[in-house]
């Protein structure tokens, strides 16, 4: 009872008008389904608005409600018609659902550590693993290692396992990114939803650089997220990206993705302190660094 009151108080502070419509117990922190101003959101208990896990706009459920999910779709500009896709981190299933609609022939594997997330995505966010989509309940690092051993490869990999509050540190190391790179098919593309702020930025950028070489840093003004876009092939030039954006514009419009405005926000300059240590399995204080300015 005391906990429930504290929780209610915490939520009232974070979301003055948010209504909790479901609480799902989980081994990794309770999952809440909230409704606020027409948005249905999945979040972990006590987390603030900036750290929302996944939301849908109930008035326009087909549209992607959050910046970062729309931004992740920019990966299609580098990998135009991927036939095999791996997504780590399910959330409400917005990304796999959209990709399955857009690319019905593609095989989509989703890895999610928390079975409770899979069940909430099914019940409240209308996500089911049907057709060519499969969901694996396991740790992404374990999945990656096994997939490599089994000889599987993906043309597009979307990393979406960070929620701003806690970082699984073994999923932000050079070794993990090198394994993920090996899991990419020739000309495969990686998009990672990561952080744009704090001391972690330099360390993380350097880690991606060591694993992939030059990459696109994709940020927009209204979002604290940044998307790292990397490829095993050389990065395309801007005219190629703009052409790809024009060809995707119609198909992505129903999702509310302003794809043609994205290429000019791709920055391949190394705007971070290159003297920072990359994060490795031996040195990975990501959670400590994230809390340092």
């Amino acid at each position: 009872m005391k906990h429930a009151l504290l929780l209610a108080f915490g939520l009232a502070c974070a979301f003055p008008t948010a209504e909790v419509i479901h609480e799902e117990p989980s081994l990794y922190g309770k999952i809440l389904v909230t409704r606020e101003a027409g948005f249905l959101c999945m979040q972990f208990s006590g987390r603030t608005e900036r750290r929302r896990q996944s939301c849908i706009d109930e008035r326009a459920p087909g549209k992607m409600a959050l910046h970062y999910t729309r931004m992740m779709m920019a990966s299609l500009l580098l990998a135009p018609e991927p036939e095999s896709i791996l997504i780590t981190g399910l959330g409400g299933g917005t990304l796999p659902k959209a990709l399955a609609e857009l690319l019905p022939e593609a095989h989509i594997d989703v890895v999610e550590i928390d079975p409770a997330v899979v069940s909430v995505a099914d019940r409240f966010f209308d996500f089911q693993a049907v057709g060519n989509t499969r969901v694996f309940v396991r740790d992404a690092r374990v999945f990656t290692r096994r997939a490599l051993r089994d000889g599987n490869r993906y043309e597009l990999i979307l990393l979406d396992t960070f929620d701003g509050d806690y970082i699984p540190e073994h999923l932000m190391t050079l070794e993990y990114l090198q394994q993920t790179r090996r899991l990419l098919a020739p000309n495969g593309v990686l998009a990672a939803n990561t952080f744009a702020i704090s001391r972690l930025y330099d360390h993380e950028s350097e880690t991606y650089y060591r694993a992939f070489g030059p990459f696109f840093n994709f940020t927009i003004r209204d979002s604290a997220n940044r998307i790292v876009l990397a490829s095993t092939a050389p990065l395309p030039d801007h005219s190629t990206l703009r052409r790809a954006a024009r060809s995707w514009r119609q198909r992505l419009a129903p999702y509310g993705i302003p794809i043609t405005s994205y290429p000019r926000r791709f920055d391949r300059a190394q705007r971070w302190n290159r003297d920072r240590r990359p994060l490795t399995d031996q040195y990975s204080p990501a959670n400590v660094l994230q809390r340092m300015d």
Binding site: I113, D139, E169, Y283
Partner: protein, 196 residues
């Protein structure tokens, strides 16, 4: 003098136990992930090892208890920590390839890597109690003080490792430092124990 040294050794033992346990998660994560059962495996193995260590330490203390023997225990613990640096990678790779279920994989890896040093570290406390107890009526106080010192060491080991060491040092460096600290404590035990 002897009382102070034994307390220092108990503090050091407690410090190393929790520092190792905390690093356990880091060691296993690249192979077995960060799922709750990885922590479950680590904590299970540490509890099992400590319970066995307490038992062994108690029995060992029956036979001519000496400070130098405590030094030998610390040396053994320091040596058994070293495989974490030397063979953790190949051992975990071997287990990963043979045990499909990461629950049992992480349990097996924890057993192989953490059971031996933690059993030995668990022997320190009961042995230290025996070294300091002179009369039955003071046994509770002596044991209480040693629990306090050793658990306080555990608290600092947890805090130091999670807040600072992982920020300053690589994993292997921290493990090597723990082994070095155990060796230094052993030297202290030998130096003071010589006068016995």
């Amino acid at each position: 003098m002897k009382t102070a040294v034994v307390n220092v050794l108990a503090f050091g033992g407690g410090f190393v136990i929790m520092s190792l346990e905390l690093l356990g998660g880091r060691v296993l994560a690249p192979y077995f992930g960060g799922s709750i059962y990885v922590w479950g495996s680590i904590i299970t193995v540490f509890m099992l090892a400590l319970s066995a260590g307490y038992l062994l330490g108690g029995y060992l203390s029956l036979k001519r208890p000496k400070l130098r023997t405590l030094g030998l225990i610390l040396i053994a613990a320091g040596v058994l920590v070293c495989p974490l640096v030397l063979i953790a990678e190949p051992a975990m790779g071997w287990i990963f390839d043979r045990v499909e279920d990461p629950r049992y994989g992480s349990l097996l890896a924890s057993l192989v890597l953490f059971m031996p040093p933690t059993i030995i570290l668990g022997m320190i406390s009961p042995y230290a109690v025996r070294l300091l107890v002179k009369a039955t009526e003071e046994s509770g106080r002596v044991a209480g003080t040693l629990y306090f010192v050793s658990t306080f060491g555990s608290a600092l080991g947890t805090l130091g490792t999670s807040f600072y060491f992982v920020l300053w040092f690589e994993l292997n460096t921290i493990v090597a430092m723990l082994a070095g600290a155990l060796a230094l404590l052993a030297c202290l035990a030998f130096a003071v124990g010589r006068a016995e």
